[in-house]
């Protein structure tokens, strides 16, 4: 279970997230929408341990992740969480394959296992045909799929998605929806920040929130 207790994030003097409380059960599919600058991405970044909250607690299975050591926070990112970011945080000069290598080389896997897992995730993200292409030469949608493949590499228990379909065409959006629903069935917890109506109205969505001025408001 993921629990946020009075989480606040102040950045450059501005309160981005205010006293936020959230409780997400294991296997839930949570959708959050809201206007730009409302603090949605900051919330996901805090859950991915890429940003530390200014105050409050983020508990995952009862443990405050903000207090984890470098070793344990790396383990958390490496083994527990998959992050599909809005921006493409990729090595532009490396190939797709080499980009996917980065998270796997720090896991104790053999070359065979690494290659097998990369091939598998490239297939899942429908980007296998660009395996050896340089990321800098890919379109926005293709990069989005590379980020998706990367997020799935560690078979995450918690998948955080920030505007995952923003750059995808209809076919790839349908693929993505099918994929996240499959992941949910397999027991993964999903927290998706989106404006996409197709995602908001999915039957599998267990909770739906609107984020406004750093605060979450439940929606039916």
């Amino acid at each position: 279970m993921i629990e946020c207790r009075a989480v606040t994030k102040i950045y450059k003097g501005k309160e981005i997230v205010k006293e936020l409380n959230l409780c997400v059960e294991e296997g839930a599919f949570v959708v959050i929408e809201g206007e730009s600058g409302g603090g949605k991405s900051t919330l996901l970044n805090m859950l991915a341990l890429l940003v530390q909250p200014t105050s409050g607690e983020i508990l995952i299975e009862g443990e405050n992740i903000a207090l984890l050591s470098d070793y344990h926070s790396s383990q958390y990112r490496k083994n527990f969480v998959g992050y599909l970011s809005q921006e493409y945080y990729l090595f532009e000069n490396l190939s797709v394959y080499e980009n996917l290598l980065a998270p796997l080389v720090v896991q104790d896997l053999s070359f065979g296992e690494i290659n097998k897992r990369i091939e598998q995730k490239l297939q899942l993200a429908h980007i296998a045909n660009k395996r050896d292409a340089k990321v800098a030469h890919l379109s926005g949608g293709e990069k989005q799929r590379v980020v998706l493949a990367k997020a799935l590499l560690n078979n995450p228990k918690l998948l955080l998605c920030d505007e995952p379909t923003a750059n995808l065409d209809d076919i790839n959006t349908q693929h993505f929806i099918a994929l996240v629903e499959q992941l949910q069935k397999e027991g993964s917890t999903l927290i998706v920040v989106t404006h996409d109506k197709r995602l908001k109205h999915l039957e599998s969505v267990s909770r739906y929130y609107k984020m406004h001025n750093g605060m979450l408001q439940p929606r039916s």
Partner: protein
């Protein structure tokens, strides 16, 4: 471990343009400094070795401010002084080589006598005296050989003594490269031939070299020589060493300027490196953090990447310097060091490795460089990854 190494190599190759630029700049700086190291230590070693083997005292006839040939009898006079273990007359002088308008040092030796100058004795020891004296032969320094070769004087050379007669002397061999700094422009021949070539009368010598058994008696012997022949100039081995030391200290100043320029360039590279670290590489660090890399894993990755660049740059710089000094004689740098004062022809040096200085140089280049890379990266790893990516 292997997979991490593989990834490090992938990064190294993908960013090869950036690394190659640094590699060439660092190599260039290292090669300049190493060349100076090699040249100065080689020259100092060569000169120290050669000067060490010089006579303790050189006695010259000095009248009206001019050095004149000394009578041969001065050799016996010196030998009569208590404490003098050996004395020998020398015949030498400059010969003008007309084709290239250069001067050679013609040096005459008595091949049947023990040489006071140890370096000469070494040369004489390797000679088959009978064979050498069969006809008019000479040994030449490597600089002289180059000039002779240029005008196809491969078997013999015809000297024109001051009386404008012709003296044909055959080339017997080339002097040892180890003594090149002093013997580069030297032509060695028998005493009789040297006297003919230089126009020295039979019972005269250019100067007298003296060996002293006990160095503590040197001052006393010098004083006795002065009293014996009031019109003399006496040069001790220490005087010669001091003279060369002064020249090298002066030249050392020029090299200090070169070092400072190199140091400033290196600082500039460090600054550039530090600035680069601030931008694209910090983003790289953030992506790795996002991918689950620990701080120490990132630091080791970056250390490895840059260590490969800086060590290979250092090694290639040292190798370039070695080839430059050993096979190309140090070119411009050597000319800067030796100048025209005491040697007017380029010498070929035997590279002398000063491993401690080389190791010091290695540390001087690698540690600040790696520090300039790793410290800002380490600071970045302790920040929020998103803060860097923004």
């Amino acid at each position: 471990m292997l997979t991490k190494l593989h990834f490090a190599l992938v990064l190294l190759l993908r960013y090869k343009n950036k690394h190659l630029l640094l590699f060439f700049l660092m190599s260039f700086l290292v090669s300049v400094v190493s060349s100076v190291f090699f040249i100065s230590s080689s020259l100092q070693k060569d000169i120290a070795q050669t000067l060490d083997a010089q006579a303790d005292i050189t006695l010259q006839r000095f009248e009206a401010g001019r050095v004149l040939n000394a009578p041969q009898s001065w050799v016996d006079d010196a030998l009569d002084i208590e404490g003098v273990s050996q004395a020998q007359g020398r015949v030498y002088g400059m010969h003008f080589y007309e084709p290239l308008e250069e001067y050679f040092l013609v040096y005459g030796v008595d091949l049947y006598d023990t040489q006071v100058v140890q370096e000469l004795q070494k040369v004489v020891d390797t000679l088959d005296t009978e064979k050498f004296l069969e006809r008019k032969n000479m040994l030449i320094g490597s600089g002289v050989k180059r000039f002779f070769d240029e005008f196809a004087y491969t078997d013999y050379y015809i000297f024109r003594p001051p009386d404008r007669s012709r003296e044909k002397i055959y080339i017997y061999g080339v002097l040892d490269k180890q003594t090149d700094v002093l013997s580069n422009d030297m032509v060695l021949m028998s005493m009789q031939n040297a006297k003919k070539v230089l126009g020295v009368e039979d019972d005269f010598v250019t100067d007298v070299v003296i060996k002293v058994a006990n160095p503590k008696e040197l001052t006393t012997i010098v004083n006795k020589l002065k009293m014996l022949h009031f019109n003399v100039r006496i040069i001790t081995k220490e005087d010669i060493q001091r003279y060369y030391k002064n020249i090298f200290n002066y030249k050392g100043g020029l090299f200090l300027a070169l070092y400072i320029v190199t140091l400033l360039s290196f600082m500039l590279i460090l600054y550039q490196r530090y600035s680069l670290t601030k931008s694209d590489e910090l983003q790289e660090v953030a992506i790795l953090r996002l991918s689950g890399w620990k701080i120490d894993e990132i630091v080791w990755l970056k250390l490895f990447e840059n260590f490969v660049v800086v060590v290979s740059a250092f090694m290639s710089g040292v190798m370039v310097a070695f080839v430059y000094v050993e096979f190309f004689g140090g070119g411009v740098l050597q000319a800067l060091f030796l100048g025209d004062e005491n040697l007017h022809m380029c010498t070929s040096l035997s590279v002398d490795f000063d491993s401690a200085s080389l190791f010091g140089l290695f540390l001087f280049f690698t540690l600040p460089y790696l520090g300039a890379v790793v410290l800002p990266l380490y600071r970045a790893t302790t920040k929020d990854a998103m803060e860097i990516l923004r």
